[in-house]
């Protein structure tokens, strides 16, 4: 009996040891990648792709972590020493601090259009620390039926015509320019496309981008004569005094804005293509009524042409600290396959950055958007200092709206807050 017990114990011990060793062996082969994602609209799609990737690559697991404020989450991860392998977050301050892996050597670049590659290139090092799969476009959506009803026959290209058209819409009982002002990032876009738009158009995209990155005030000229910030503040207040902004400007949300546009109550909204699916969800027949145009020129001297945002969207970066870069590249190449990207373009209503992806039906209004891109100067996003992004700028615009600032004090406050944030971020 005693012998049997000993034999059984020995056998169990051997079995346990074998299992443990086998497990150890498997653990050493299996790799788990962490992907920190900040784009809520693509979480489910990426999960589906991860499942397909893991089936094809059983030794690589991918753990998608979605964070609404992914930028802050990444900084917390960096401080905790728990850096993800891949992220959708791209910040100049992190590029300058050397946290991203140099992706310049990836084979995938041969499939990416030249203009997108240029936008993905860090102007200071001429290297690519992210690869963007799509092109983002933002401008002014307008309701063609409302324009027709108001007798507006052509899209306004200069400020005076724009305000005049909005007044016609208001006179007919519509909201002129409807803004969801409680979402301060949306107000920040007004500065981004109109105020900074003057700088980008007058300097050119590349020079402007460098000036923003280096906070070169000799070129940006936030204050002083012909300040683009003061021009913006002055013109913005005209919208208020002329009564062409929605009455609930300060408390309306992003959803309110889209709903008002989709239900035919708002004549014009400032948005990006990312909003299109929500608009069409609110009103499936809306696409035939949607017009899309660049932001009319605010400053006839410095930047006489209208501007439209044409920048990168859906960027992916590999972190320098990742111990599994090869596996990360393998996963990204899977995600970037032509078939997957064709599907993705429709999902995000955005044309592809890849030349071999069939994105012909990326949106119901793709021809309208393509036409709008030819009507204005194409500008990219500004490189804003961490701590003074669209949200912070939008809060200042709220203050301008309620009378806390005059165009002059708004300009000095904007410049001062920008400089403080820039100094802190680059300390």
């Amino acid at each position: 009996m005693k012998m049997t017990k000993m034999t059984m114990s020995g056998a169990l011990l051997a079995l346990l040891a074998t299992c443990t060793l086998t497990g150890c062996n498997k653990t050493s082969e299996a790799v788990t990648l962490t992907f920190l994602n900040g784009k809520s609209e693509v979480v489910d799609w990426i999960d589906t792709e991860i499942a397909a990737f893991e089936t094809a690559n059983p030794t690589i697991k991918v753990n998608q972590v979605f964070e609404t404020d992914a930028s802050s989450a990444l900084k917390v991860d960096i401080n905790a020493g728990d850096i993800p392998d891949i992220t959708s977050v791209y910040e100049t301050s992190l590029v300058n601090s050397g946290y991203y892996y140099d992706m310049s050597g990836l084979d995938a670049w041969s499939r990416v259009s030249g203009s997108i590659k240029e936008l993905c290139t860090d102007p200071l090092t001429s290297k690519q620390y992210r690869l963007a799969t799509n092109r983002a476009t933002a401008g002014l959506f307008y309701n063609k039926d409302i324009f027709t009803a108001c007798g507006i026959t052509s899209e306004p290209t200069v400020w005076a015509d724009f305000v005049s058209d909005l007044q016609k819409a208001v006179a007919k009982g519509y909201s002129g320019l409807y803004m969801g002002g409680s979402a301060t990032w949306m107000l920040g876009h007004l500065m981004e496309f109109w105020g900074h738009g003057i700088i980008k158009e007058s300097l050119g995209n590349v020079a402007a981008n460098l000036a923003f990155i280096n906070n070169d005030q000799t070129k940006l000229k936030f204050t002083g004569t012909n300040s683009p910030i003061k021009t913006f503040a002055t013109k913005f207040l005209e919208l208020k005094t002329d009564g062409v902004l929605n009455s609930d400007f300060l408390t309306a949300s992003y959803d309110d804005q889209l709903e008002n546009f989709a239900t035919g109550k708002a004549a014009v909204i400032s948005q990006g293509m990312w909003a299109l699916s929500s608009i069409e969800k609110d009103n499936p027949s809306m696409h035939s009524k949607i017009g899309f145009m660049p932001y009319p020129s605010m400053d006839a001297t410095l930047a006489p042409n209208p501007v439209i945002l044409s920048d990168v969207d859906s960027g992916y970066s590999i972190m320098k600290a990742s111990a599994h870069k090869d596996e990360a590249i393998k996963f990204l190449n899977f995600l970037w396959s032509s078939a997957n990207q064709a599907e993705y373009c429709k999902l995000v209503s955005s044309p592809s950055a890849f030349t071999d992806v069939d994105d012909s039906d990326w949106s119901d209004i793709s021809t309208v958007v393509d036409a709008a891109l030819t009507k204005g100067t194409n500008i990219g996003y500004s490189s804003t200092p961490s701590g003074f992004g669209g949200g912070e700028c939008g809060t200042l615009i709220q203050g301008l709206y309620i009378g806390d600032y005059t165009p002059d004090t708004f300009t000095t406050t904007y410049a001062s807050d920008w400089n403080t944030a820039y100094t802190a971020a680059n300390a």
């Binding site: 900084k75 009455s247 300060l250 802190a424």
Partner: protein, 305 residues
């Protein structure tokens, strides 16, 4: 045999001091989530840390910046106004409810439960609920105004720079009045009935009994309510975030919200310095309130000792 001996000595060692060991989990939690972050934050307040990378020592520079920072001054003002209005409001309403509902009957129990319910709801959720009620063009009240053809006279309270903070103060009072009421109710229950009986025999009026018996005997309840309300009010965050996000402009931005924005805006060192200042901004009124109450004729239990 040996095992039994070990087990016995272990159980003796642990058993006699079990009550002390029971503190350990709570102490570890306190150490991990309060003391260490507190010490870390204090250390960071002397640096210019931007949230990533190296933290450079800057001495007292962050504290000097605090005193010249207009936005910080505005946040202090908003927090102090909020607390200065909320603390009396919560206590007057809480005490009022407690006195009104002091008699034990089913109706009072139901009313007490109804008044208390908002306190168990997350302040964030509470904020979003009120947002749906108050919102211009879409809110419940706006819709009701519309039913009477008066939607044009509805004021956008949360978008009004002078009224937004008032609205937050009232919603905060609505949420937490149940909590102060409960503490006052418990205090009222502990006042010996014979004190009131003696006073009645001496011909004291309701007001005299309230002033000379109820109020002094509620000393411990007043103390706990005032101090917790000061701490909670000066640290208000969730309600502000959900209702106005500090807006319009910076008109409802409180210290906590400003610290949060700075911490995630590449100014973590300065944010820590403001957090240290906030500690004193809260500590000072708490100490003042405590000493005023100690000097008053309130009956505080600790005086017995």
């Amino acid at each position: 045999m040996k095992l039994a001996k070990v087990r016995k000595s272990f159980s003796r060692a642990v058993g006699d001091n079990l009550h002390k060991w029971m503190i350990l989990p709570a102490f570890l939690l306190f150490l991990t989530f309060v003391l260490i972050p507190l010490a870390f934050s204090f250390g960071l307040s002397f640096t210019s840390w931007n949230g990533i990378g190296k933290a450079d020592f800057v001495g007292l520079a962050n504290f000097a910046t605090f005193f010249s920072d207009e936005r910080a001054g505005n946040a202090v003002k908003n927090s102090v106004v909020f607390a200065a209005c909320s603390v009396p409001l919560l206590n007057v309403l809480g005490l009022g409810y407690a006195l009104l509902l002091d008699h034990k009957n089913s109706f009072n129990k139901v009313v007490k439960a109804i008044v208390y319910v908002p306190a168990v709801i997350s302040p964030l959720i509470m904020g979003y609920i009120w947002l749906l009620v108050l919102k211009d063009n879409y809110g419940v009240i706006f819709t009701i105004f519309g039913l009477f053809g008066a939607s044009g006279s509805y004021a956008n309270l949360l978008g009004d720079k002078d009224l937004a903070l008032v609205v937050i103060i009232l919603i905060n009072a609505f949420q937490y009045v149940g909590l102060t009421m409960t503490i006052y109710s418990a205090g009222l229950q502990s006042i010996p009935v014979d004190l009131y009986e003696s006073a009645s025999v001496d011909g004291a009026s309701w007001w005299q009994k309230f002033l000379h018996i109820t109020l002094p005997m509620l000393g411990p309840s007043i103390l706990i309510n005032i101090i917790t309300n000061i701490i909670g009010s000066l640290g208000i965050f969730d309600l502000v975030v959900s209702l106005t996000s500090g807006g319009p402009g910076y008109h409802t931005e409180t210290l906590s919200l400003y610290i949060y924005r700075l911490a995630y805006g590449a100014r973590s060192g300065y944010a820590s310095a403001i957090a240290v200042m906030m500690f004193f901004i809260i500590l000072i009124p708490v100490l003042i309130a405590y000493f005023i109450m100690k000097k008053s004729n309130l009956y505080l239990n600790e005086d017995e000792g």
